[in-house]
Structures are given as C-alpha cells and as structure tokens.
Amino acid sequence: MRRFVAFFVFALLSAPVRATVLVPIEFRELVAVSPIILHGHVVDVRSDWIDGRRAIETIVTVEPAEYFKGDLGDRVTFKVPGGELGRYRTIFVGAPVFAQGDEVVLFLDGTGAAQPHVVGLSQGVFRVVPDRRSGLSLVIPPAVMGRTDVDAEPVVRGDIARKPVPLDTFRQAIRQVIAEGGR
C-alpha cells in the first residue's frame, strides 16, 4: 500500500510544468494596477470554447471571503487561457490552473472586458496553504515585496528572510500598500 501511495503521488506531481516569458511586476505595482484584489475559495472550474470554437478557455468562479480592493459581489467569475473539452486539451503554458476548493488571493483586472482576468497571467495568483504544524494559513509572498529605499540590490535565492508568511501578514502588506496610495 505504501508503495502504491508513493507511486500515486509521484504520478500526480512529476510533470505538468509551465512556461512563458514574463515582464515581472513589482508587488506595489501589482496592488496598484489591480482594480480587484480578493481572498477566497474556488467553487467552480469549467472550460468552454471562445471565438466561435477557435480556442478553449477556462472559466473559474471564486467565492470571496474578503475584498481588499474593489467588490464584484458574492461570486466572481474570471477566465484563464487553456482548458479541456472532450478529447482535446489546450495547454497554455504559464497560465495558472485552478481546482475546486483552492484557496487563493487573487489580483484581477477586468478593464474593458466581459470577464476579469488575472493580472500578469500567473503573477496575480497567491496560493493559501495550511501549515501542517501550526495550522496557520500561509502564503508564499512575492519574491520582491517592493522596497523603495534601495538603488540596486541582488535578489539572493535562499535568503532566510524570504519564507511563507501567515495570510494575515500578507493581508496587512496589501492593505498597507493600498493605504499608501497603491504605489
């Protein structure tokens, strides 16, 4: 049984990886350019054809627990490129993939569009994960939280100061940037 479980986990986790070339968004800018910022749970995920069956997109519905910025009501629906319909799967590499039950902090933009989209493709998605030991809800914060007091500073991988933070800390960081005018 143990062997089976190990294989099953491997099979689930060994591959799908993502890809695209991004222009990075600094955290303060991310807050500033996102009209909608919320924390919530994904309650529905489904794919559909767009542009007269020219491409597949995925429609994600989230039930917000709280809004940090903006308000789209009790349920928010947004789109991400790619998805699966029938026998065919379109993989839009770099696009975030959601599942029912996911807990997330989302930075959305819907300016001029029928449905909002995630800002910066994957850069506006932060997963909320319970810590097994403490039970706290943790978020892996952006690599760069937006200091303005430096000229140039290398981003050092493994920096001991950079670790998952409680959701409440992340919440405060967002609210602080908003209180400062968004930038």
Binding site: L13, E26, T90, F92, V155
Partner: protein, 333 residues
C-alpha cells in the same frame, strides 16, 4: 552562485558513479489516461506557419526570418535530433485550435506582462501533440536589429525561449536578478529557458547555454548524446522527508557549465541528465525568488522554507551512466 560553487569544489571529495540511464529534466508534461507523459514531437521536422501580420518595427517577413534563425539554433545543438520547416505564411493568428502550428503577433490585453507564450493542443487519449502555437504580444515594442534597440525587446531572444517550450522544455531557474527601485531586472542567466526577460535592448539571450542543450538532449538526444553524457540522481531531504520543488544545480568546475533540475515528487527525488562526464558540484536551493506558478502546476505544495545546501562531496558523473544516491540534506530557514 558560480563563485560559491567553485569554492565548495575545492574542498570536496569524490563520489564514484553507478549504473546507467538518463531520465527526467524539467520537461513539459500532461496527464493522459491517468499518467503523466512528456510533451514531445513524434514526427520531425516540426512544420510551422507564420502569421502574415506586421507590427511596428517588425514585418511579417522579418518575423519569419527571426523565427527560422531561432529554430536553427535549437536544431544545431550537438547530438540532438531536431528539425523544423517553415510551411508558409497564414492569415490565421496564433492560439487557435486549427490543427496547424502558428507563430505570430497577437494583441491580447488580458495577457498583460506576457511578452510571449506557447500553447499546445493535445489529444488526451493518444497523448499526441496536435499543434503548438507561439504568440508574441503585439502590445510590446519589438526589434530584430542585429545589435538590439534601446527600449525594444529582442524578438530572436524571446523566440528562442518560446521554441524551447514548443520542443517540450519547461522553465529553468538558472538566473540571477536584482531589485531596483520600482522594478526587478535580470543580471545574468545560464539558460535561455529562464522565465524573466532581459531588459529591452539586450540581445544576451540569442545563444543556447549548457542547461538548454542538456534539456533538449534529454528529450531529443541521439544515441551519441546518451553515450557521451551522463546524469545524476538523488534526493533532497529535510528532517528525513522529501522536499518538493527544490532547485538542483550541477556545476562542472572543469568547464564552468551549469545545468539545473528540480525535485518533482514528494519523496524529493531528482534526476539531472545531459551532464558532461567528470566532477560536478551539486547544490540544492529553494525556488523562493521566483513566480512558482510559472514553473509548476503544483505550486501550492512546493517547499521554499529551507536554506541552500551543497552535497558534501564532488559527484563524478560517468560517461553514458548515472551517479546515483546523491542525497542533499537541507534545513529549514
């Protein structure tokens, strides 16, 4: 990072290599019939169309020439069986499900901050790749100038990256960045597959690095590639448990080449293939400075709470074989 690796190399001892077989790298994959398979072109040459659309600074003809040059760079990698063929211009834009691989410019306001991206359509029963499109975001300023142009992104560099994806490669984390007031920029990258673009005007990403060649060879390598290169397999552990999503770097002090890989299962196991035979210094580090979503689908499960650590010996990679049982023990931050 390179300085630190060399320092460790000087005081490390040797590990004898074992067995054979080169397996996983960071490759794109998808689920088919309940199992994960790598995205790979079964038939070569890869036939692609180019969208007949100009954007400011780049005509459709220049786009075609630039894309052909980027394909040629990948096709010319040593001991790799890759080939490509321009099938003609088309009025169809990229990102459509039309059974044709289309490369072109497209305006997609919802894909802000994305310079370019690659999509695949896959048959979920057979696992076959039906088509793969590459789009370049027409909202950005582009250049095909030989020496680059200030304020414009180098099309050939981005095309080279996206074609790496089209071949089935995922992202590499072999890059260094710095924070400047209001932004972040790439200082250096040892892989074309590093996901953050160099600044506008730079043409630094027009040539493949060791990491790209290793990945490409892992998927499309000839028998000469398999017999001339080697691999390392092992685990990254923290308090005895496997670490998922750790970035592993193998550095050859002799050649200065760096090749990266990742732990892709809960038990913390990894394999890095396409390595030069001989001594390699191996390091594990957390992917804590990256947009993890752009690397893995299982972003929520990735462990970034550990300090970088080196394997305590030099690993000697055998020609055509695998150095096994390399366990790198890390500790929490």
């Amino acid at each position: 990072m390179r300085r630190a690796l060399v320092a460790i190399a000087l005081c490390a001892a040797a590990l004898l290599a074992l067995a054979s077989s080169a397996d996983a790298y960071l490759k794109l994959g998808t689920r088919v019939n309940g199992r994960i398979i790598g995205l790979k072109w079964a038939q070569l040459p890869i036939r692609y169309f180019v969208t007949n659309r100009d954007v400011p600074g780049v005509s459709a003809a220049q786009l075609q020439q630039t894309v052909a040059a980027a394909f040629s760079t990948w096709d010319s990698a040593p001991d790799v069986a890759l080939s490509s063929q321009f099938a003609g211009f088309t009025e169809a834009p990229p990102l459509g499900n039309d059974n044709a691989s289309v490369i072109g410019f497209l305006s997609r306001p919802d894909l802000d901050r994305v310079l370019g991206s690659t999509s695949f359509t896959v048959d979920t029963v057979s696992g076959d790749v039906i088509e793969s499109d590459i789009f370049f975001n027409a909202s950005f300023p582009w250049s095909v100038a030989d020496a680059g142009e200030g304020g414009r992104y180098d099309l050939q560099s981005i095309a080279l990256h996206e074609i790496g994806h089209l071949h089935g490669l995922g992202h590499s984390a072999l890059g260094e960045t710095e924070l400047r007031a209001g932004g972040r920029r790439v200082l250096a990258a040892e892989s074309i597959m590093f996901p953050i673009s160099f600044s506008p005007g730079s043409t630094n990403a027009r040539t493949l690095r060791a990491d790209d060649i290793a990945g490409s060879g892992d998927i499309y390598g000839t028998s000469a590639f398999r017999t001339s290169q080697g691999s390392i397999s092992g685990r990254v552990t923290k308090n005895g448990a496997g670490v998922l999503g750790a970035h592993i770097v193998a550095f050859s002090p002799a050649s200065g080449k760096m090749v990266g890989g990742f732990t892709l299962s809960d038990d913390g196991s990894f394999v890095i293939a396409g390595l030069d035979p001989g001594p390699q210094v191996v390091r594990a580090e957390p992917l804590d400075d990256a947009d993890i979503e752009s690397f893995f689908e299982f972003a929520a499960s990735v462990d970034v709470d550990f300090k970088p650590a080196f394997y305590n010996r030099v690993v000697v990679v055998p020609r055509g074989g695998t150095a096994q049982n390399v366990e790198i023990k890390v500790s929490a931050k």
